[in-house]
């Protein structure tokens, strides 16, 4: 996993609530057995006017000019600004794979769906929960200011706008540690293999039928 420490990134505003993972990456792309190459198909049905299929060359596909990702001013953005309940629906990790592969490293929203939220941390993406008022302000500033950037710092857990105003966000120490160091969680967990074995033995003695 790529480490994440800080970023001064161009912001892309996706102004709709309840964006589901079917919209983030439609089902036909889930047939892949790889975990890379999903970026060109991010938001496929909103982004293109034709029907996308896996392994398609997207460079000549007809674009939906109205969709925010296709607007020149948001090209190469790295911070996705979103509304409530972002990432709801299916647990598909292909959604954060597509977001990361496209180039986003930070998502800011008033709320996220649980499974999507935890999937982000496994893929070097920092999802930030901000209050509804702050998110509303960021949307206003972003629409009003071409080239609008936000400075995100994981060490100090802060987000700073161009005017120098800032807010602090929460993250668990465990997630922060893993993200800052790009750590493989499996390796960390296996350091506790003895504790897992001891638990398993006790569990098996109490409920042997679970191990049939």
């Amino acid at each position: 996993m790529k480490a994440f420490t800080q970023l001064n990134g161009l912001v892309c505003p996706l102004d709709r609530a309840n964006v589901d993972t079917d919209a983030i990456i439609p089902k036909q792309f889930l047939k892949s057995i790889k975990r890379s190459g999903f970026g060109p198909f991010l938001f496929d049905e909103w982004r293109y006017t034709d029907h996308g299929e896996p392994d398609m060359d997207c460079s000549h596909r007809p674009l939906n000019k109205d969709f925010v990702l296709n607007q020149l001013r948001y090209k190469n953005s790295e911070v996705l600004l979103a509304r409530d309940n972002f990432g709801c629906g299916s647990s598909r990790e292909h959604a954060p794979w597509a977001i990361e592969d496209y180039g986003f490293r930070v998502i800011i929203a008033p709320s996220f769906a649980d499974i999507f939220f935890s999937n982000c941390f496994k893929n070097g993406i920092l999802p930030i929960v901000a209050s509804a008022d702050i998110v509303a302000q960021l949307f206003r500033e972003c629409f009003a200011t071409p080239g609008y950037r936000l400075r995100v710092d994981l060490e100090t857990q802060t987000v700073r706008n161009p005017a120098g105003e800032w807010f602090r966000f929460d993250i668990t120490p465990h997630r922060k540690h893993c993200l800052m160091n790009g750590l493989d969680e499996i390796g960390l967990t296996l350091q506790h293999a003895d504790a897992i074995k001891a638990f398993e033995q006790k569990h098996r003695a109490a409920q042997p039928w679970l191990f049939n």
């Binding site: 609530a17 079917d22 409530d84 649980d114 668990t172 969680e185 967990t189 638990f199």
Partner: protein
């Protein structure tokens, strides 16, 4: 000190260790796998040279990509075929307790198969790379969906890194009216609390209307917990749970059975336990539900009218309603009953069990599908459900009504196989998500119960199933 909720008990009995910030290592008893969310996890295991911690915890089946007709022709789509064959190869290499490959007599949807084989039991932790894993909470198991990185983590360590959720109680008391099903209860809850209403929570469902449900009905309710934003739904096990499980292949036997049932009887919320939030609904105020929009919370009773965005004050919500009406091709204030449909889908991990098929057959018996309905797909949840339905003659009823009797699988719930909705077509569906493009790009989905879906197939538009009973 306050007592414990069912969720507290399940959580605490699986904590291997806890960090100071509350992050826990949670032991996983049952790991369910399907072909879509597992290949990258197995690939990760292979690259790191790791072996599964306990492969007898694994139950696997291909379900999303498998066709529901012409099984003799195999899987036509080469990309789908490769994904299914990859699961075959991975299970061959890494092992599993149960594996039903494509065309096996017991193949079907993972969330139907788990309980059917007794591989889902009360008191277990159950995970799967699939958000509808919440289904298994109907047995008093702590069950939820995980991402593919977590699938690999569970394969390698038999644990999950997790933090405890908040505890929400949804209590539904009273008796439901005729024609009102578990699906209607679930949709009514989502309509009330919204698709983010349960975010960060594990929802326990209780009350006399929940206790009165069959195990199939309870699975439908817990299945839809994720559509209310809750990773896990829970219902305390009772005598119905034990009766359902007794004699199933992997259910405990002999002395273990008695010991297990005694333990399961302790798996209930203590009388003095406290929830972080409580939502109450009255069963007799819930009527057959139909979604009108592109989110499961956009749901109304059959007797209602499509909402008018002009009446919504919140600008984000108003824009959401307008966008949904445009996508769905509906006009504000039109009666739900006047919405004409093109297709019907009865199936999915929400509503493809034997009870669902019986309910649909009861409505379809002796009738024919309406001329404007171009296809009615009946897709049983598993080979076991299919054979049971055929033994009861349900397939004959469906075929006589002009419905198509298919092979088991996920089918048009998410349209990864060839069963899909063409752009602009409108479907009455017993599945769980009405998102844009879910059943096919441009397709329009209305979520309903099996009874309401069958009734719509006969009438050609939505009808109040209560008038037919």
């Amino acid at each position: 000190m306050a007592g414990k909720t069912l969720y507290d008990k399940l959580w605490e009995s699986h904590v291997v260790r806890e960090e100071s910030d509350g992050t826990c290592l949670l032991y996983i008893d049952r790991h369910l796998l399907h072909e879509v969310t597992s290949p990258q996890a197995f690939e990760g295991m292979r690259l790191s040279g790791r072996k599964p911690w306990r492969n007898t915890s694994m139950v696997a089946v291909p379900d999303h990509n498998t066709p529901t007709n012409d099984w003799d022709k195999g899987i036509q789509d080469p990309v789908s075929r490769l994904q299914v064959e990859t699961l075959d190869a991975n299970i061959k290499e890494f092992g599993a307790l149960v594996y039903f490959p494509f065309k096996h007599a017991n193949q079907g949807i993972i969330h139907v198969i788990g309980p059917e084989n007794g591989t889902t039991l009360p008191g277990m932790t159950v995970v799967c790379g699939d958000s509808h894993t919440s289904t298994h909470g109907a047995f008093g198991a702590l069950a939820h969906g995980i991402g593919t990185s977590e699938v690999e983590h569970v394969l390698a360590t038999q644990t999950l890194i997790a933090k405890k959720s908040r505890r929400m109680l949804v209590r539904i008391d009273g008796q439901v009216g005729k024609g009102v099903t578990a699906k209607d209860l679930a949709l009514a809850v989502i309509g009330k609390i919204g698709t983010a209403g349960g975010t960060g929570c594990a929802i326990e469902f209780s009350g006399s209307a929940i206790s009165a449900l069959s195990m199939e009905g309870r699975m439908t309710v817990c299945n839809m917990a994720i559509e209310a934003g809750a990773r896990a739904g829970l219902i305390a096990p009772d005598e119905k749970t034990a009766a359902y499980l007794k004699g199933r292949t992997y259910a405990p036997k002999g002395a273990d059975w008695d010991k297990a049932v005694a333990y399961w009887n302790t798996l209930k919320t203590d009388a003095d336990a406290v929830f972080d939030s409580v939502v109450e609904l009255k069963a007799d105020e819930i009527f057959p539900q139909v979604t009108w929009g592109t989110s499961p919370e956009q749901v109304l009773a059959i007797s209602d009218r499509v909402p008018n965005p002009a009446k919504e004050a919140d600008p984000v919500k108003r824009a959401g309603i307008e966008r949904a009406l445009t996508y769905m091709g509906l006009t504000a204030d039109m009666p739900i009953e006047s919405i004409r449909i093109d297709k019907v889908f009865i199936g999915s991990c929400t509503n493809s069990r034997i009870e669902d098929l019986r309910a649909a057959a009861k409505i379809a018996q002796g009738k024919k599908k309406a001329a404007n309905v171009n296809q009615v797909l009946i897709v049983p949840g598993s080979g076991v459900v299919k054979r049971q339905a055929e033994a009861e003659g349900l397939d004959k009823i469906f075929i006589a009504a002009g419905f198509e009797w298919r092979e088991p699988g996920c089918s048009m719930c998410l349209a990864m196989n060839a069963d899909r909705l063409p752009a602009g077509e409108r479907c009455a569906s017993t599945s769980n998500r009405n998102f844009e493009g879910r059943q096919g790009p441009g397709g329009r989905t209305h979520l309903v119960s099996p009874e309401m879906a069958a009734a719509a197939a006969i009438a050609g538009h939505f009808v109040d199933v209560r008038t037919l009973l």
